[in-house]
């Protein structure tokens, strides 16, 4: 661990769109060099939804669901107590209740939420936003003003991003090209605006992937796999196999099929990272994220259709856009960039409440120097780098599944020995 390395506890939501984003954040924070623990809320999801199957009276169900969330909160607190993080980062919809946030408020542990939702639709931020030390959002005004109104001054604009280690261009087999390929494709849920908008493509080589397209008759032949959910792995194959991917931001309104909203969805960044050519609807915040020579936008469906025709017949131009969009993502729009921005924002606005770096009492211990020497070679062997601390190595090893190598096992043994004889009064017991 270098001297600015933090312990960060990331709380994933139990389900939903912010779940994969939370995982990308964990990977990015680790890549930066922080020690990250991820609270795996999704493992609780089936138990939570299972409560509904018990046919309880509604008033009882609500109480029991609250109790369930309370238990999940207790589990989060147990992690907080054992890990002593500098920062608890909650993703939108993470099961972090008000009691936890109030308890953490004066503990020195910083809290932040990345609210990757449309504030005008999901309004629970009005209760929670001020309880976090820092509130990261994907929209600007008038959301900033609204946040100030409820007393949250520490907010940061943090647009979505891509994870280039996952969202990348891949080679497809001929069979995969045949299965996933098309002139035009869309992958996503069947929101009302999309259902109407995509009728413009009826009769074309157009594939619709994803769920929630039930009852769509005109496009029924275009819907793939009977509207099954598509795995992240298959989505990469689809994007890589498609000539033009349509990226139309969702809307529950149908008066305007292209909603001209503000925030930019994660698909925009992910498609760019995968070097897929996309036609994306115009967004007010798009201009500062991508230039007009990097992404092609459309402002209505007629415009979209025109550009489909044009770019289908101009593959070289598609290639130029793909190259530039990828370069921009790698330069500015990865989750590593976002996490660096978030951590810097917390540091400048509220600072860290817990000391950072190796605690000095360990260095004063007469055994420390010798143990440190023993540790050094193992840390290098375990791939953690020469500046990693024992704490970083141990945390990483403990989280690993399956048998450890003899070098890794020895590191864990040394840590346990040190804690038993140098830090605590524990004894080996029966």
């Amino acid at each position: 661990m270098n001297d600015r390395s933090l312990r960060i506890l990331v709380i994933l939501p139990m389900y939903g769109g912010s779940l994969p984003i939370g995982r990308y954040c964990c990977a990015a924070l680790r890549e930066i060099g922080h020690t990250v623990r991820c609270f795996e809320s999704p493992v609780m999801y089936s138990a939570f939804t299972g409560l509904k199957e018990l046919q309880l009276p509604p008033e009882s169900l609500a109480k029991i669901e609250n109790s369930f969330i309370h238990i999940v909160s207790q589990a989060i607190l147990a992690h907080v107590e054992s890990f002593e993080p500098h920062l608890v980062l909650a993703m939108a919809q993470a099961p972090v209740d008000r009691n936890i946030l109030l308890r953490l408020k004066n503990s020195g542990i910083r809290t932040a939420m990345w609210f990757v939702e449309d504030y005008s639709i999901f309004n629970y931020w009005k209760i929670y936003a001020q309880l976090y030390d820092v509130f990261a959002v994907i929209q600007k005004e008038p959301f900033f003003t609204e946040l100030r109104k409820i007393g949250q001054e520490n907010f940061v604009y943090l647009p979505l991003a891509a994870d280039p280690s996952f969202h990348k261009s891949i080679q497809l087999t001929n069979d995969e090209k045949k299965e996933f390929g098309a002139d035009i494709a869309f992958l996503g849920a069947g929101y009302p605006n999309r259902r109407l908008a995509f009728r413009h493509f009826a009769g074309r080589n157009f594939k619709i992937w994803g769920s929630d397209w039930e009852g769509e008759t005109l496009l029924s032949k275009n819907i793939q796999r009977n509207g099954e959910r598509i795995s992240p792995e298959d989505s990469i194959k689809i994007y890589n196999a498609t000539k033009i991917t349509i990226n139309l931001h969702s809307s529950v309104h149908t008066e305007q099929l292209v909603s001209h909203g503000d925030f930019v969805n994660p698909r925009t960044f992910e498609l760019a990272a995968m070097k897929a050519f996309q036609l994306v609807d115009e967004r007010s915040l798009m201009g500062e994220l991508f230039g007009s020579d990097e992404l092609v936008t459309f402002d209505d469906m007629e415009d979209c259709c025109r550009k489909i025709d044009y770019f289908l017949s101009h593959p070289m131009e598609r290639e130029q856009y793909r190259e530039k969009a990828l370069a921009r993502v790698l330069k500015e729009h990865t989750y590593v960039h976002r996490m660096r921005t978030l951590v810097a924002s917390i540091e400048s606005s509220v600072g860290w409440g817990l000391p950072i770096g190796v605690e000095t009492h360990q260095e004063q211990n007469p055994y420390q120097a010798e143990l440190a020497n023993v540790m050094e070679s193992f840390l290098l062997e375990t791939g953690l780098g020469p500046h990693s601390s024992l704490e970083t190595a141990v945390s990483s090893l403990k989280a690993r599944k399956g048998p450890l190598s003899e070098a890794e096992t020895a590191v864990l043994f040394l840590d346990a020995w040190k804690r038993q004889y140098l830090h605590t009064d524990n004894r080996t017991s029966r």
Binding site: L404, E406, F413, L414, N426, T428
Partner: protein, 424 residues
């Protein structure tokens, strides 16, 4: 051929008390035994069929130690080892178990979580739930560890039946815990009784260098008629020497010590004196024919780590003149029931077996926890019986309310609701 790894990182007495488990595994395959480095020779003497290795569990590891550890782990892999028996609730041993698949580890498993931690098997949870109130603690530690294996060997085959060998008596000078040891004057009184009873045998003082002072003090209280028969071996025996010194003795007089367990291992009759935190139902000498004098005031057994706020009532009971008279009477009457009067708070126990393992029968005194202990034992035996570990159950006739009360204390709700075989 099956190859088992047993990790026992605790002390002298604990290593001896792992015998039922190790014997069981030796009967089924080859056994690698990992112990504290200071105990490797002892382990080899106790378990000559096991392949013994030592780790620095209680001393500072050096670079060479770590190299040795890695070499050992390279030999023992998830592919070569059938099961790992981790006998200790210890983060160090749990760390070593991470070298194997979780499912291979029996007893105490490393938890697969960021903060580490240790998960316990149903067996260890059950026994520990019954020892929350130690006075009704139902199981000898040898049987506790023996129960880590399915179908452990017959308890009666673990140690030889206690039988004097004609070489004299051994006096163990002190236990590791000072509070569990006998003061020199009291010990001298006990020695006189047995010296007389055995017609003036050789007397061997046993202990390490740290017990030499206690031995010198004992010698001050012994008459010259005994002194001429004394060989003071404190600080003069290595593990081989201690084995040689204890082997073939007529009796070993001792508090709860590792040497006591060694005597039981060798079939030497043990005359044990338990007080303070020592409790014969947990760590009494294993086998048939040993006796334990248990100081059992209301506050017993206590915690080793907590200071005594009762003015050492247990020791005071042993220091009353009546106690030595009871010892003499009991030995002279060959422990006949009804002919061994004891003071209130003193119990005399004799070791034997039931279907579960070693159990102590009360010869004299009152056992206020008899019912609860017996019901707990019955409960353990039921589980053992159901899982095919014993061929017959242990039954106990007692008041229904006692059984209900004991069940409520010993059985956790979650064990009814969730799979009992889970580790948690």
């Amino acid at each position: 051929m099956n190859e088992y790894l047993v990790i026992q990182a605790a002390r002298f007495g604990d290593l001896v008390q792992t015998k039922r488990l190790i014997q069981t595994l030796i009967a089924r395959g080859s056994v690698r035994l990992l112990v504290d480095r200071a105990l490797t020779r002892l382990a080899s003497l106790l378990y000559p069929k096991a392949q013994v290795s030592g780790f620095p569990f209680h001393t500072k590891p050096t670079v060479d130690d770590i190299a040795d550890m890695r070499a050992f782990l390279k030999q023992c892999t998830p592919q070569t080892i059938t099961s790992v028996y981790n006998c200790n609730f210890s983060e160090m041993t749990a760390a070593l178990c991470r070298h194997f698949e979780t499912e291979q580890v029996v007893g105490y498993r490393p938890a697969a979580s960021f903060s580490g931690g240790i998960e316990r098997s149903h067996w260890t949870r059950l026994i520990f739930s019954m020892t929350r109130e130690r006075c009704s603690s139902p199981l000898n530690l040898v049987d506790f560890w023996g129960g880590f294996a399915s179908r452990p060997v017959e308890a009666s085959s673990v140690n030889p039946t206690a039988k004097g060998g004609g070489r004299g008596i051994g006096i163990v000078m002190a236990g590791r815990e000072v509070r569990r040891s006998l003061p020199a004057q009291l010990l001298a009184g006990i020695v006189k009784i047995y010296f007389s009873l055995l017609d003036g045998p050789q007397v061997y003082l046993l202990g390490s260098r740290t017990e030499q002072k206690a031995a010198a003090e004992l010698l001050r209280f012994l008459p010259s008629s005994i002194l001429s028969h004394v060989r003071n071996l404190t600080g003069k025996t290595d593990w081989d020497g201690l084995f040689h010194a204890v082997y073939g003795l007529d009796a070993v007089i001792t508090p709860d010590t590792g040497t006591m367990h060694l005597a039981a291992h060798l079939g030497v009759p043990v005359k044990a004196f338990f007080l303070s935190s020592a409790w014969c139902h947990e760590t009494g000498p294993y086998g048939n024919g040993h006796t334990v004098w248990q100081a059992a005031p209301d506050c017993a057994p206590c915690l080793e780590s907590a200071p005594c706020s009762k003015g050492m009532r247990c020791l005071n009971l042993l220091q009353e003149n009546a106690f030595l008279r009871s010892v003499a009477l009991a030995e002279n009457s060959n422990f006949s029931a009804g002919r061994c009067p004891v003071q209130e708070g003193i119990q005399l126990w004799k070791s034997g077996f039931d279907a579960l393992g070693c159990v102590f029968s009360l010869i004299a005194g009152h056992d206020r926890n008899a019912d609860e202990r017996a019901v707990n034992r019955e409960l353990i035996a039921d589980g053992f019986f159901l899982s095919g570990n014993v061929t017959r159950s242990v039954t106990y006739d007692c008041d229904r309310s006692v059984r209900k009360h004991t069940y409520e204390k010993s059985i956790e709700d979650l064990n009814w609701m969730l799979p009992t075989r889970r580790y948690c």
